[in-house]
Symmetry: C2
Subunit: 240 residues, 2 copies
């Protein structure tokens, strides 16, 4: 999958300026993608060797991740990858719906043509990547565009905080979405998110608040329910 010039530009524009920032992003990505498995201890010496960085930027990154709740930390007893449980899946889904519904409502109220254009553009870019059936470069592109689309929906809400929190919770949810995808890949059951996204776009462009929010709710509820199913059958992990 080739990447457009604008995507490369975007990444270079905010390329990590410090080792701290770089290791933060790598750890963050590895946690979200399940490379570092939920609950696993994050020992400084191990990580220092594995990622080839000093202790200071490493700890700094872990502290940041801790306040984003992607890792847990208890004084003098080190850091761990934050576990994923039924309760947190439900909680994260509920909470991000609270924030995103509010932000979407505002966006629909005050969004201008530039906003509509962003929604249409990010949706189109997403629709041209097939929904990935396994991890790899394609899955990463899909994931990036998927997030870009959802954030575009909220981008006219005129609230930096709501966008920041939605971003935070999106990544939290990404963890269990990916966990689900990995676990049920063998079973072959797939959803059709393209249709769900199309419904959201249609409702949003019609400026139909109720329908938009219903579509978003249902979209996230499906994700949540599939994640809960995956969590209920941890045995499948053993199937290869």
């Amino acid at each position: 999958m080739t990447r457009t010039a604008s995507e490369i530009d975007l990444e270079q524009r905010d390329a990590p300026r410090t080792v701290s920032e770089a290791i933060y992003r790598r750890l963050r990505s590895d946690i979200i993608w399940g490379v570092l498995v939920p609950g696993a201890p994050l020992r400084s010496d191990e990580l220092r060797r594995k990622y080839d960085v000093g202790i200071s930027p490493l700890r700094e990154a872990l502290s940041r991740l801790a306040s984003e709740r992607l890792v847990t930390s208890s004084g003098q007893r080190g850091f761990r990858v934050a576990p994923i449980g039924d309760a947190s899946v439900v909680d994260i889904t509920r909470t991000r719906l609270v924030i995103e519904c509010a932000a979407l409502e505002r966006s629909i109220e005050v969004g201008d043509v530039a906003w509509e254009t962003r929604v249409v553009a990010t949706h189109h870019a997403l629709s041209r990547v097939p929904f990935p059936t396994s991890q790899g470069a394609e899955a990463e592109v899909w994931t990036r565009r998927h997030k870009a689309f959802h954030m575009a929906l909220l981008s006219a809400c005129q609230s930096e905080w709501q966008i920041y929190l939605a971003d935070l919770l999106f990544d939290q949810a990404e963890r269990f979405r990916i966990l689900r995808a990995v676990k049920t890949a063998a079973a072959g059951r797939q959803r059709d998110p393209a249709k769900e996204h199309q419904e959201i776009v249609d409702a949003v462009l019609d400026r139909d608040l109720e329908r938009s929010i219903a579509a978003l709710r249902s979209h996230y509820r499906v994700t949540m329910e599939m994640a809960l199913e995956a969590l209920a059958s941890p045995a499948e992990e053993a199937l290869q």
Copy 2:
């Protein structure tokens, strides 16, 4: 002002276990109380001397504060106390209303007698401290109990995330509430928050959702409007 045994216990129970944690709390408190003024640069050497800690725990604390948005950080150019502007005051107020209204709604729906008791208890404790007219030990007690009361209102929402975010935004709002209090102390204009709190408690105990949310909205809107007024007249700062 004496402190109850339970309050002391509470603090000792989660006393800082590391220097990192301790300096984090001190910085946080100093930022919220305006000791470290909005926009001021936070130079490592200065702070290291002032708070008598090493660089490592200091940076760690600053990183955490940065992801809580109490300080800003730009790579290689250090940290600053997050500025307070009209836009952020409005944004924080709007966003915390989104979260707190959702959490309050749920609490009213599912809260049991233990929750009602927490609301009544924290409200009573708060009502017995006079609304402070200047900074000092009393102001700190009032502030602690004020937060305890507001968090008690949400404490039955069954969402750790919503409580965490409400907590985060409460402290953000505390910054401009205190800023306002300091600036207009000379002018003598005061509000009567006790009445506002009473209205919230009454509505909540009646399980009247609409009235509860209206009372909370109005409570926070007053805070916001007074903060905006204070921001509009920065000249008053010069009066002493």
